[in-house]
C-alpha cells in the first residue's frame, strides 16, 4: 500500500511539473523535477560550458599574432568573454547538484563532450574572421532560442550571454569583409577560411531531427525550444546574404533559394565526418584536451596557495 501511494505521489509530481512547463513557467533549482530532466540539463549545460572554455584555444593562439593593436585588443576581449560564458554556464549547471570539480573531471575523462567545431585548427588570420562570423553566428542562433529554455538559471545565463555575443559575430564579419576587399592573396585567404569552416559550422546544430533520439523529451520539457533542423535552416538563411555582400562564395553547389519553402535548400552534410570528430578523431581533439588538462594541473599550486591563505585568515 505504501509503495502504491509513493508511486501515485511521484505521478502527481510529474503531472504538476509538466503543467508548469506547459504554462511556460520556469523551473528553479529547488523545484521538484524528473531525474531525466535534471540529467539531460546537466549533460547539455556542461557540454555548452566546456565548449565556451575549449573554444578559447583556437582563437587564443592568434592573440599574439594579430595584425594590429586594434585587432589584438578586440580578440583578447572576445576570448575573455568566452571565459566568462563558460563560468556563467558552470554556475547554472552547479545549481543542479553537480560540483565544478566533477564537471571538470568529466571533461578530462571524456565523459562530457564539447562542440566539435573547436577540434578544427586555425591556420590563418582569416580563421579569426570565419570563427567570429560563422561559429559565433551559429552559436547565437542556438543561444537566442535557448533564452526561452524552461530551466531558470540556464535561461538567465543565455540572456546574459546573448547580450555579449553580438560584438563577437560583428568583429569576425568585419575581418572577413576587410580581407575580401583586400589584395588577391587576402581575398583567397578569406575564401579558404570560409571553405574550411562552412560545413563544420552547420554541423554545430547536431544531427537531423529524425536521427536525434533525445530531442523528443528536450522539446516536451522545453529545454530546447526549436529543433536542430529549424535552427540550422535559420542560420543558413541569415548567412547566405552576408556572404554575398562581401563577395565570398559559400562552398555548397546545391545551395539555392526555394521560393516555395521560403528558405534556402542546401547540400547533404557529411555525417561520417561529423561522427568521426565527435568520437575523438578530429584534427585537434587530443591537442585541445591535453592543453586543458595541462593548464588545470599546472594551476593546482595556485589553487592550493589560495586555499592555504584563506585557511590562515580564518585561524587568525
Amino acid at each position: 500500500m505504501i509503495k502504491f501511494a509513493l508511486i501515485k505521489l511521484l505521478l502527481m509530481d510529474d503531472k504538476i511539473f509538466q503543467e508548469k512547463i506547459d504554462k511556460d513557467r520556469k523551473i528553479e533549482p529547488k523545484d521538484w523535477m524528473p531525474e531525466k530532466y535534471r540529467s539531460h540539463l546537466i549533460r547539455q549545460i556542461s557540454q555548452h560550458a566546456h565548449s565556451e572554455i575549449i573554444g578559447m584555444q583556437p582563437e587564443g593562439q592568434w592573440i599574439s599574432r594579430a595584425p594590429s593593436l586594434r585587432s589584438k585588443m578586440i580578440l583578447l576581449a572576445k576570448v575573455q568573454d568566452e571565459a566568462g560564458h563558460g563560468l556563467y554556464l558552470y554556475s547554472a549547471c552547479e545549481t543542479l547538484g553537480i560540483s565544478r570539480d566533477q564537471l571538470i573531471s568529466q571533461l578530462h575523462s571524456g565523459a562530457a563532450k564539447y562542440s566539435s567545431i573547436f577540434n578544427y585548427p586555425t591556420l590563418s588570420w582569416a580563421d579569426m574572421g570565419a570563427i567570429g562570423w560563422l561559429v559565433d553566428g551559429a552559436a547565437i542562433v542556438n543561444q537566442v532560442s535557448l533564452q526561452r529554455t524552461s530551466y531558470g538559471p540556464y535561461s538567465r545565463g543565455m540572456i546574459k550571454i546573448c547580450k555579449e555575443e553580438s560584438f563577437h559575430q560583428r568583429q569576425g564579419y568585419e575581418i572577413m569583409a576587410e580581407l575580401a576587399k583586400g589584395t588577391k592573396e587576402q581575398k583567397d585567404m578569406a575564401q579558404d577560411a570560409l571553405n574550411r569552416f562552412w560545413w563544420p559550422s552547420i554541423m554545430m546544430f547536431g544531427p537531423h531531427d529524425a536521427d536525434s533520439p533525445r530531442s523528443g523529451n528536450a522539446m516536451k520539457w522545453k529545454i530546447k525550444r526549436q529543433t536542430n533542423d529549424e535552427l540550422r535552416q535559420s542560420f543558413i538563411d541569415k548567412t547566405v546574404g552576408q556572404a554575398e555582400v562581401i563577395g565570398l562564395k559559400i562552398p555548397d553547389p546545391d545551395l539555392k533559394w526555394n521560393e516555395k519553402r521560403g528558405h534556402y535548400d542546401f547540400g547533404e552534410i557529411d555525417w561520417e565526418e561529423f561522427w568521426n570528430v565527435v568520437n575523438g578523431n578530429g584534427p585537434c581533439n587530443k591537442e585541445r584536451l591535453d592543453h586543458h588538462i595541462n593548464a588545470h594541473q599546472e594551476g593546482e599550486w595556485v589553487r592550493e596557495a589560495a586555499r592555504a591563505y584563506a585557511n590562515k585568515q580564518i585561524k587568525n
Binding site: 566568462g84 565544478r100 555579449e164 589560495a306 591563505y309
Partner: protein
C-alpha cells in the same frame, strides 16, 4: 582544513543611488578574491559602480513550493494598494 572553494553570490549596483541587484555567483577562497573575480566576471562592460559578495551558504531562502502559504498574509489586503480607493470625480493630484 577547508578543501573546496567557496561560492559567493554577487550583487551589483549599476549606478550610484540604485539598489544592488543579484548578478550571479563566483568561486573564490576568500573575500578579496571573490570581489576581484566578481569584477572580472560581471563588470567587463562598466555594469557596476559597487559590488557586494556574500557567501552562498549564508543566504536564507524561502521555499518556492510553499510560497503560497508563506505569502498568503498579503493576499486579502487589497486596501494596501492605491487603486483600492474610490475617489470623487474631479479630484486631482492625489
Amino acid at each position: 582544513m577547508k578543501e573546496t572553494t567557496n561560492v559567493w553570490e554577487v550583487f551589483i549596483q549599476s549606478k550610484n543611488g540604485l539598489a544592488h541587484k543579484h548578478a550571479g555567483n563566483v568561486h573564490a577562497d576568500d573575500k578579496e578574491m571573490a570581489l576581484q573575480n566578481a569584477r572580472d566576471l560581471y563588470t567587463r562592460r562598466n555594469e557596476g559602480s559597487c559590488i557586494w559578495v556574500v557567501k552562498s551558504t549564508d543566504i536564507v531562502s524561502s521555499e518556492s513550493e510553499d510560497s503560497e502559504s508563506f505569502f498568503d498574509p498579503a493576499n486579502d489586503k487589497l486596501y494596501r494598494h492605491p487603486t483600492f480607493y474610490n475617489l470623487p470625480e474631479g479630484a486631482k493630484h492625489i
